[in-house]
């Protein structure tokens, strides 16, 4: 498996429900970022969590980081149809400028 694997690969929920996506990684990291990609578009940065942080909020987004388990989760509360997109985690390996993107979770929010 590769650094930055998201789980599940695909998720389909009803509007108003919460969506949870997970990311696992292998190395020590400086920080972990979550990005969103709408179909046919570039990636948009959502949130960054540093290696010494455990939880971070931004609007309807909540990110947790567990460095002991080398995992992170992204929670989107009260989902909307507009949240339909692919979500990627990106880790930066400690001591480097190297970014590693995961394979993404495809989220579909049904109206």
């Amino acid at each position: 498996s590769q650094q930055g694997e998201e789980d599940p690969q695909a998720l389909s929920i009803q509007e108003g429900e919460n969506a949870t996506m997970n990311c696992s990684y292998k190395t020590s990291i400086n920080n972990l970022q979550w990005y969103r990609q709408n179909s046919g578009r570039g990636l948009v940065h959502l949130i960054l969590i540093r290696s010494n942080e455990r939880e971070k909020h931004s609007g309807r987004l909540r990110v947790t980081l567990d460095t002991s388990k080398k995992s992170s989760s992204l929670l989107i509360t009260a989902s909307r149809a507009a949240d339909t997109a692919s979500y990627f985690c990106a880790t930066t390996v400690s001591g480097t400028y190297k970014y590693i993107f995961g394979t993404g979770t495809r989220l579909k929010v049904l109206a």
Binding site: G40, K98, G102
Partner: protein
């Protein structure tokens, strides 16, 4: 403020033909990245520039791929000759500098189809 601009948005070519992609990063951004994204997959870093210097090109297939960033602003990525397996979306991103705390801003990508 304009975001990262890429052109063309779509390109269809026959195998063995050359192809070039262009990227204009956000003004003032010193760091520029080229990524390749295969269908339904994550991003693979091809090359990273600090100003005009390529500081990480370890993943760039140098037998057929080349890149340049003249004057540390715009960048071009070239494939010559293209192969069927090169079909993918090529994404350009920029950030203020290489600090990993910095957000990367992505362009819309160039979708390449090699027939």
């Amino acid at each position: 403020e304009a975001g990262v601009v890429q052109s063309p948005r779509y390109k269809i070519i026959e195998k063995k033909q050359p192809v070039a992609f262009w990227c204009n990063p956000i003004s003032g951004h010193n760091t520029l990245y080229w990524y390749r994204q295969n269908l339904g997959q994550g991003l693979e870093l091809l090359i990273r520039y600090e100003n005009e210097e390529a500081v990480d090109d370890s993943q760039l297939p140098k037998d057929r791929f080349s890149a340049e960033r003249l004057k540390g602003v715009d960048s071009t990525l070239k494939i010559q000759p293209a192969e069927l397996g090169d079909s993918a979306v090529y994404l350009c991103a920029s950030s203020l500098d290489a600090d990993t705390q910095e957000t990367q801003y992505f362009g819309p990508g160039t979708r390449l189809l090699v027939l």
